[in-house]
Amino acid sequence: MSHSPTPLRIACLWFSSPLKNGELERFAETCLRFSPQIALRARQAIFIEIGKSRTLFSEEAFIRRVRVLLRRFGLSVSGAVRSRAIDALLAARYGSHLPEALPLEALALVLDPFGIREKEDELPATEKMTVALQALGLRSLHDFMSLPPHELPSRFGAEGRLCRLHLERGEFTWPTFIPQEVIEESRDLADDEACGTLEPLLFYAKTLLDRLFARLHGRGLRLTRLQARFELERFSTVRKPVHEWDFDLMLPQGSTSGVLPILRERWDRDLQHEPLEALVTRLHFTVMETVAGYDGQKNFFHAREDQTEKMNAVASHLRESLGADKVFRASLVEDRIPEKSWRKLEKNERPAALDLSDRIPLRPTRILQPETIEVSANQVTFRRRRWRIERRSEVERISAHWLDGLQVRHYVRLDLEHGPSLWVFEDANGTFLQGVFE
C-alpha cells in the first residue's frame, strides 16, 4: 500500500531591511516550534515548511502566532505561504508569485533563493542577464519564460538555464539550519534609556526574557540556570562596572512570569545592600543550563502543564525568598535510622519510588533532637511532667551506621494516658525522647 506524500506548504518571511548579525538566527530558533524544517536566506528571509504540521495548526493560526512572535522581537516582515519555496519567496518579496507580476530583478532570488551563492560584496550573478534581457525589451518573468529554453545557455550561460529550471520545477535542497550554541539576549540602553533603579531595569529585562523563553520554547527546552549581567557607565569613580548574578532555579521554568519575581526578589535585596554606582548601559542574559521541555502539545482537556509551570514558578520564588536549601521536596531512603530515612531532593530530581510500609515499623510523625527522658515501668517523666504509660510497643533494635559512630539503639513506642504517643530510645548513654506520634 503506497502513501501519497504530504503536500508541501512553505511559509516565507521576508525582512525588508537586512537584520543585524545573528538576529535572523535568533528569530528562526523561535520558529522551530512550528516545524523542524527551517532554512534561512542570509539576514533576509526564513523558510518554514508547515505542510506536515497541518493537523497541529491551520495556516491562519500559524500567521497569528508568527505575528505575536514578531511583535515580541520588534520585527516587521512581509510573508506568504505557497506550495513551493521559490513561490513563497517571490510572493513574500514582491507580493505575488505569478511571472506576469514579477520584474526581471526577481531573477536574482530565482537563481539563489537561499542566498548560498551570493557574496555580500559582489553583485548578483543575474545582474548582467537582467540588463541584457531589458535591452531585448523584456519586462517580466513571464517574458523570460517565453524565451526558447535551448537558447538560454548560449545567451546567458548556466545561470540562465538554472533560472528557467528553478521557475519550472521549483525544487531545491534546503540548507541545514543549526541554532546557536549559546542562548543569550542583550540590550544596549541608549542615553535616554539608561537607568539605575529596579523598576525600569525589570521593564527592560522582561522584554529580553520574553525573547529568551520564546527561543527556549522553540527548541523544546526549559530554563534551570540563568546568568544576568548589568554593565554600568564607565566612570573612574565606578569601582564595580559589571554586576553579575547567577540564578540557579529550583525547578525548570518555561515563562517570564515565573522568573521575573525571582529576579525582582534578588535584585531588590542585592541593590539595597550594594547600590549601583552609575546608570546601567547594557543588560545581558545568558542561559547556563536547560532541561528538556514538555514532550508534546499541551493537552486540550486539562491544564496540567500550565499547573506544573505555575507550581515550579512558586517553588523557585519561595526558594529565592527563603534560601536555597530551605524549600525542598522529599524522597525516601531505605534506612532504618529515622533521620536518615529521607533526604531533600536535588533540583530537577524525581523522588524514588520506595514502599516502606511493610519493611520498617511505623515511624513517628515528628522527629525531635534527642532529649533525656525518664521511663519507669508504668510512667514517664519529661520536663517535670509525668504521664502514665497506657501501652508499650515491642522493642526495635537499630544497629546500622557504626562507621558514623552511631551506637546501637533500642526504640520503643509509648502510648500515654491523656497525652501523645512518644518514641524513645535507649542506648549506652541513657534514655532519650526522639519522636512524637502527633
Binding site: V314, L322, F328, S357, R363, R383, P420, G435, E438
Partner: protein, 200 residues
C-alpha cells in the same frame, strides 16, 4: 422601637459566622466532615498529623505546602501512612523572627494560588492584635486562592501543652477541630468551631 437582636445575628454581622452561603468544601470520610476551602482551620489535640495524613491519603491529588520554622516533620512517616509525597513542597522557614518568616512563606505560597492545602504551626505573636491582623491577611489570601490553611501544634508544643486547645480560636479561623486517639488506632474528631454551621 428597634427590635432586639440575637447573639447569633450579631455574630453573623461581624463575620464570626457564615451561615446561609454555599462554599467549596473538602469531604472527609465520605462527607462525615466538611472542611471549608478558602479558609483557616485550626487543629488541636494529640493526633493532628495522624488525622492530616488520613485526610491527604483520601485526596492524593492535592498540592500541599508544608512550612515549619524548625523542620521536625518526618516525611518517611507520611509516606508510611499512604501520603503521596510527590505533591508536597516543604519549607523550613527559620530566620531571626520565626513567626514573621513563617508568615512570609505562607503569604508567598498563597499568592502563587497553586496549593490547595497549606500546613503550618499556629502563628503566635506576643501581641494579640498583631496575631489577628496576620491571620486576617492569611484568611483573605486563602479565600482568594481557594486554599485551606491548616494550623497545627508544633513539635515541642505537643508535649508541652498536651491535648487541650489554648483559649478560644481567633476570629479569622473558620473551623477548629479537636483530634483524639481512640482504641484500635482510630481517631475521633470534635468540631469546636465551625463558622459555616454556626458553631462558635
Amino acid at each position: 422601637m428597634p427590635m432586639p437582636i440575637s447573639l447569633q445575628q450579631l455574630r453573623e454581622k461581624i463575620g464570626a459566622l457564615q451561615t446561609g452561603g454555599s462554599r467549596d468544601v473538602f469531604y472527609w470520610k465520605n462527607g462525615s466532615l466538611e472542611i471549608p476551602r478558602g479558609a483557616l482551620v485550626e487543629l488541636t489535640g494529640d493526633c493532628t498529623l495522624e488525622w492530616l495524613c488520613g485526610f491527604f491519603r483520601e485526596s492524593p491529588s492535592l498540592n500541599v505546602f508544608w512550612a515549619e520554622p524548625e523542620f521536625t516533620l518526618l516525611p518517611t512517616a507520611l509516606a508510611q501512612r499512604g501520603v503521596n509525597l510527590e505533591r508536597f513542597l516543604f519549607a523550613e522557614t527559620g530566620g531571626t523572627s520565626l513567626q514573621s518568616s513563617l508568615f512570609k512563606a505562607l503569604r508567598l505560597a498563597l499568592r502563587g494560588q497553586v496549593f490547595e492545602c497549606l500546613v503550618a504551626p499556629h502563628l503566635r505573636f506576643a501581641h494579640s492584635l498583631e496575631e489577628e491582623k496576620t491571620l486576617k491577611t492569611l484568611q483573605l489570601l486563602a479565600e482568594k486562592a481557594n486554599s485551606t490553611v491548616f494550623f497545627t501544634t508544633s513539635g515541642s508544643e505537643v508535649i508541652a501543652t498536651a491535648t487541650e486547645p489554648r483559649g478560644p480560636a481567633a476570629w479569622p479561623i473558620a473551623m477548629r477541630l479537636k483530634t483524639e486517639r481512640i482504641p484500635d488506632d482510630g481517631i475521633s474528631i470534635t468540631v469546636l468551631k465551625d463558622k459555616m454551621r454556626g458553631i462558635a
